[in-house]
Symmetry: C2
Subunit: 222 residues, 2 copies
């Protein structure tokens, strides 16, 4: 059986979970307390980060994008990165937008401050960082609105990895109740469509100990 080591509020883990589900591939999910730096886990991924996927033949794969590219090559039935080089470049550009820009400007300022810092024993959330994250998320919701006005999904007419990457980050912020959906109705329309996909359902059941999500987190009609 394929194993995926993850953390519930790691957007990179969520990206791989969604990709596996969209492709209809089975896997067993294991929570990895990355902050414990378990030697057996470091042997699978010296970077010490989730996600790590171990294929049924025992081979480990690390880095969320390397994993999804691998899955799209080995299981091409339900392509997530696109078909022609130009649309694949656009998908990868947008994945990088969310995994790098959104991550640095929003995810780190909100999820890292409010959740991970506690596990790493790094003290209290920095209220300045949280303010910055809440301010910058608006730019990204506007960009999602702009893209989904021009196209059916973020990178083109097909649902794909750009939508998965964006929703992976946003769903973590949504778990904290920090997405101002009401001020961004067009981005919300896109998220409603992503959230109602069967692949998304397991994420809506995630729970972090001592930190329950707000009621609308799992609500498809929020």
């Amino acid at each position: 059986m394929r194993i995926l080591y993850h953390q519930p509020l790691s957007p990179f883990s969520r990206k791989v979970r969604l990709a596996l589900k969209e492709k209809g591939l089975d896997f067993e999910l294991r929570v990895e307390r990355v902050w414990e730096r378990r030697p057996e886990f470091l042997a699978l991924n010296p970077a010490g980060q989730v996600p790590v996927m171990v294929e049924p033949d025992g081979k480990p794969y690390a880095d969320s994008m390397a994993i999804v590219e691998f899955l799209d090559e080995v299981y091409p039935d339900r392509r997530l990165i696109g078909f022609d080089p130009e649309s694949r470049a656009e998908t990868r550009r947008l994945v990088a937008w969310f995994d790098q820009k959104f991550y640095a400007e929003v995810t780190l300022n909100l999820v890292f401050e409010k959740v991970n810092k506690r596990f790493y024993g790094l003290g209290n959330p920095d209220s300045g960082a949280i303010r910055v994250g809440k301010q910058l998320i608006g730019v990204h919701l506007d960009y999602i609105a702009e893209l989904s006005e021009r196209r059916r999904w973020l990178a083109g007419d097909e649902f794909g990895l750009a939508d998965i990457a964006a929703a992976s980050h946003l769903s973590c912020i949504d778990y904290l109740g920090d997405v101002p959906w009401d001020a961004h109705p067009r981005a919300k329309d896109w998220y409603v469509r992503v959230k109602s996909r069967p692949s998304f359902r397991p994420l809506l059941g995630d729970h972090v100990a001592g930190m329950p999500p707000p009621p609308q987190y799992a609500d498809l009609d929020f």
Copy 2:
């Protein structure tokens, strides 16, 4: 003619320059002062970052990894990412290692502090950050040594994008004279081999105004 917008000490720009040269593809290099946020440049890449490649048909491509994946798909003659899914996953894992982990731990602490901060008008270098960067680079040089003991090049027996990504970051740090080569002879052996490739030569001629490189930067026998 293909155009590449870049910055001399942007490791991500260097990655694309090296990839284009390795593939024997012609391009015109244009320096983009990203901190000026030129509207015409933002129209090419709303993230406002280099590199941006404009193909001869006028289509812009952004994000260094999306660009190199595109080049490897459209010009497959000299493959840089690998041939089978497993070796491609290993190349991508290592590219992510350098573009994310090395970047956050070393490049940002040294290149951003010493060079970019000045252009962005963000004040003086933070000596604490510089100390952290100089301390953490050793871990990465050890990792390069470990990989190149097991394999001819970082990701396998063929020179490829993992070597290019690692050398792109290290060459920027080397421009500042901050790589402790003498303490890491095995990593140096690998870098000597990369540095002597014809694709690398143009990088050794780079100059940042008011900040000349140390003599050994362009020296193949350093």
